[in-house]
Symmetry: C2
Subunit: 181 residues, 2 copies
DNA sequence: ATAACATTTCAAAAAATTCTGAAAATTCAG
DNA sequence: CTGAATTTTCAGAATTTTTTGAAATGTTAT
């Protein structure tokens, strides 16, 4: 129940270490990685034993992963336990992460900046602060919109999307050269 | 030296609260926000007094903001102190954040996954794990590339870029409908 | 070189976050 | 309904991260 190939172990520890940079904690990262490398859905006891963490920690971390929509619960006939597996393909999970992060990292600030700009009369601030604040808000909203667009894509379309953006970007770079050089 | 308009105060506290979600800590977020709303460059003592934090904390946090390339040091004639201001326009700072976050959040995992895939012989893993791992690596590298493209853009081009991506995305959504419905 | 001013370092304190164990709640077969 | 199996909750313990104060280091005018 506890034997893990060395290569998987490294991956799991890495996801644990990166966890906090990705917006969750060590255990959540490790559990996600464990589910990622597991060929079959596994249950909470199994996770606790493999990662040597408490059953209660597993319970809370699984809740967190569910909030991120990164895992799904599976049931087996004749078995009361809940088994867990990653939520789907890499692309499905990536979309979930994107959605959550926009929600957690951008949305609150967008709300605040909107409110800020509508509350504070323009005359009370120096010109450039107001302009910079408006630019920041605009930029954050653009990112939100881009994220929304990306969410719409089907798995089969991501590659085309990446390539098209690459072309768009090249085009703009070229325009730039022609105009300014 | 310590009086702050209420609206700026709210903004600063918000940036403090969001700090940890953005990859730095409360103080770093607050200092950045303070510099953002300050019409003039300010010095470390001023920051400490305004935010009521220790001088040493200010020193370390300013170092951190410099590592993020989010601030710049200004000098005044006849004055030994260092004055600080945000690094430039919103777009310049956004590019700095994007660069840092790709570096901190994606690069280490890309390295690990590459190494993982080249080390572990294909036969030793179940087929689908290898495929999923490859997909994850590919996706992370796409994000890196997109970030690189975006970094190249001049301020004047961002809006065109956003609009073009919007069109690209709409186009793909339409293709999808035609093919599958 | 010195002294006054300024910044940085770092060990330890404070604060925040994560983890645990015990108890409570839930689920479901009989 | 009972009780065994399983999951969840949550107060306090453990750990990690952040902040501080004191000392060290660095800088510049005289």
């Amino acid at each position: 129940m506890t034997e893990l190939p060395q290569s998987n172990y490294e991956l799991i520890m890495h996801f644990g270490d990166m966890g906090s940079r990705w917006g969750f904690n060590r255990t959540v990262g490790q559990i996600f990685a464990l589910l990622f490398v597991s060929p079959e859905p596994i249950h909470a006891e199994h996770i606790a034993a493999t990662l040597r963490i408490s059953r209660s920690n597993v319970s809370m971390s699984l809740k967190e992963l569910q909030a991120w929509k990164l895992i799904q619960i599976k049931h087996r006939p004749q078995d009361r336990k809940e088994y867990f597996a990653v939520a789907g393909t890499v692309w499905i999970m990536a979309k979930a992460v994107l959605e959550q992060r926009v929600q957690r990292e951008l949305a609150p600030t967008v709300t605040l900046l909107k409110q800020h700009l509508s509350t504070v009369e323009a005359e009370k601030q120096h010109q450039s602060l107001r302009e910079q604040t408006e630019q920041l808000l605009t930029l954050l909203q653009w990112v939100q919109q881009l994220a929304d667009q990306v969410q719409q894509l089907e798995p089969s379309q991501i590659e085309s999307f990446v390539k098209l953006v690459r072309r768009v970007s090249k085009m703009l770079a070229f325009k730039n050269k022609v105009v300014f050089k």
